[in-house]
């Protein structure tokens, strides 16, 4: 499959999955199930990643700037780094690794065991039944996870700065709050919305196109994560150019 036909297929799949009658009565439960699975299920790993992101950012910012700028600038730097870049992208990459692969594996297994054929024969649109809840679930969960990750990262950075770098909470938080820009925060959230679509669509698309058996299901999971990760980085650049460029 060449790149252009892949992009064509992927786009067709995406629109086919969303531009259908949603049938809220029967889809609502499955969307909530996905929100729970993606959102709550990803929380532990997101907390760990966010905590270490905050700690490392604080250590690096301090290492590079201490003595040359006022100490509250450490808070500003860490705050903006986390809100604009690190929070959205690390959360997205982590959710991509955890969820896109599991979506592709789950749907791929359903494909090879004829469960998707069974849906079609039961007159149930498999795109509405399988893709829609996952894409919408990721769309709802990822921005919330991103905000949570940003909060955890900044809190951990502040705690480390207070106890180990001699930068009191008040000084660190002054740096964050005084230079807080709503555009930074919203820009990060806009990114995470785009990332969520890429994660949900990749996971479902590579699951749907599985043909064969266990080996192909494994391969689909890998493709889903790799594609989602690459698209996340590409979109990160494009959105950065549009919003912050």
């Amino acid at each position: 499959m060449n790149l252009f036909s892949l992009i064509g297929d992927f786009s067709t799949f995406f629109f086919r999955s969303l531009f259908i009658p949603w049938k809220i009565r029967t889809s609502k439960g499955r969307i909530l199930e996905q929100v729970y699975s993606i959102g709550i299920g990803s929380l532990p790993i997101i907390i760990i990643i966010a905590a270490f992101t905050g700690l490392v950012s604080t250590v690096q910012a301090t290492y590079q700037m201490i003595g040359t700028v006022p100490r509250y600038i450490i808070g500003t730097t860490v705050g903006r780094m986390v809100l604009i870049e690190l929070g959205p992208i690390l959360t997205a990459l982590m959710v991509s690794g955890r969820c896109a692969s599991s979506m592709a594996a789950e749907i791929g297994t359903m494909r090879v065991t004829e469960q998707i054929d069974a849906l079609e024969i039961m007159a149930i649109d498999p795109y509405r039944f399988l893709s829609l809840p996952r894409i919408v679930g990721t769309f709802i969960s990822l921005p919330v996870l991103t905000i949570f990750a940003e909060f955890v990262a900044l809190a951990c950075g502040a705690v480390y700065a207070h106890y180990f770098l001699n930068i009191p909470f008040s000084v660190f938080s002054y740096g964050i709050i005084h230079f807080f820009s709503m555009r930074d925060f919203l820009g990060g959230l806009v990114k995470s919305l785009f990332f969520s679509i890429v994660i949900g669509a990749s996971g479902c698309y590579f699951g749907f196109i599985v043909k064969g058996g266990a080996k192909e299901v494994g391969r689909a999971a890998t493709y889903a994560v790799v594609t989602a990760s690459i698209l996340i980085l590409v979109l990160d650049f494009l959105v950065a150019v549009v919003i912050f460029g």
């Binding site: 049938k23 004829e114 054929d117 069974a118 079609e120």
Partner: protein
């Protein structure tokens, strides 16, 4: 009535179906007999529009599935129950949820009514009391019975069975065969049974066809071929 007219299908250069024509009349079971790998399942899936065909037409009560729009195809499929060889039960759902799914999706029944209907279906297929079990904890024969139950959920006019007795022990095989016969006799379900088991074919079939090298022919012709070596 289902009319299959001159259906042809090939995968690359391999001709799987070559001008296949069959008719499934009201309250009759048509059996498609043939060795594994001859395209019996392809025929069933082609009839339902799951696999696209190269030529030919399938009419469900006069409506062509080939020219129907997507929502019309779904409307046609609501009148068909399909029992997969692999059962294709949803492994993330228990027996009750598997059977309830078409009811939840296509009817406005309350959850209590759905539960009652599932119970009624499980009584018919002899699986009452197994509502909470997951497919992973069922034997092959029990899965097949649940699959028949799921196919019955929307009270379809037609039932398609893909190798319903393959891989089952003799007791379970007889149970499934009897269930197929009862469903036709008591509930007037017409349909197609695909099998490679001549014994099953003779027990359940009103009209028996052989599918061989893409061509379909009636049982009388098969016997003639067998007797002539």
């Amino acid at each position: 009535m289902i009319e299959v007219k001159n259906l042809s299908k090939k995968f690359d250069d391999l001709i799987v179906l070559d001008n296949v024509s069959i008719t499934v009349a009201e309250a009759r079971l048509v059996v498609i007999l043939g060795p594994s790998g001859t395209g019996k399942t392809v025929l069933l899936k082609s009839i339902l529009g799951i696999l696209p065909v190269d030529s030919g037409i399938v009419l469900f009560d006069g409506k062509s599935i080939q020219t129907a729009k997507e929502n019309e195809i779904y409307d046609i499929r609501k009148h068909v129950g399909f029992v997969f060889q692999s059962t294709a039960l949803f492994d993330s759902m228990n027996v009750c949820e598997n059977i309830a799914l078409p009811l939840v999706e296509h009817t406005k029944l309350s959850s209590r009514q759905v539960r009652d209907k599932v119970h009624e279906i499980l009584e018919i297929v002899g699986m009452a009391g197994k509502e909470r079990l997951y497919p992973g904890s069922l034997s092959g024969g029990m899965k097949r019975l649940v699959a028949v139950g799921r196919a019955l959920a929307l009270d379809p006019k037609y039932l398609f069975y893909d190798e319903p007795t393959t891989g089952l022990d003799p007791v379970m095989r007889d149970r499934i065969v009897q269930l197929i016969i009862d469903l036709r006799k008591d509930y007037k379900k017409s349909g197609i049974v695909v099998t490679h088991d001549l014994d099953t074919a003779e027990k359940v079939g009103d009209d028996i066809y052989l599918l061989k090298k893409g061509k379909i022919s009636k049982l009388e012709q098969i016997k003639k071929e067998v007797y002539n070596g």
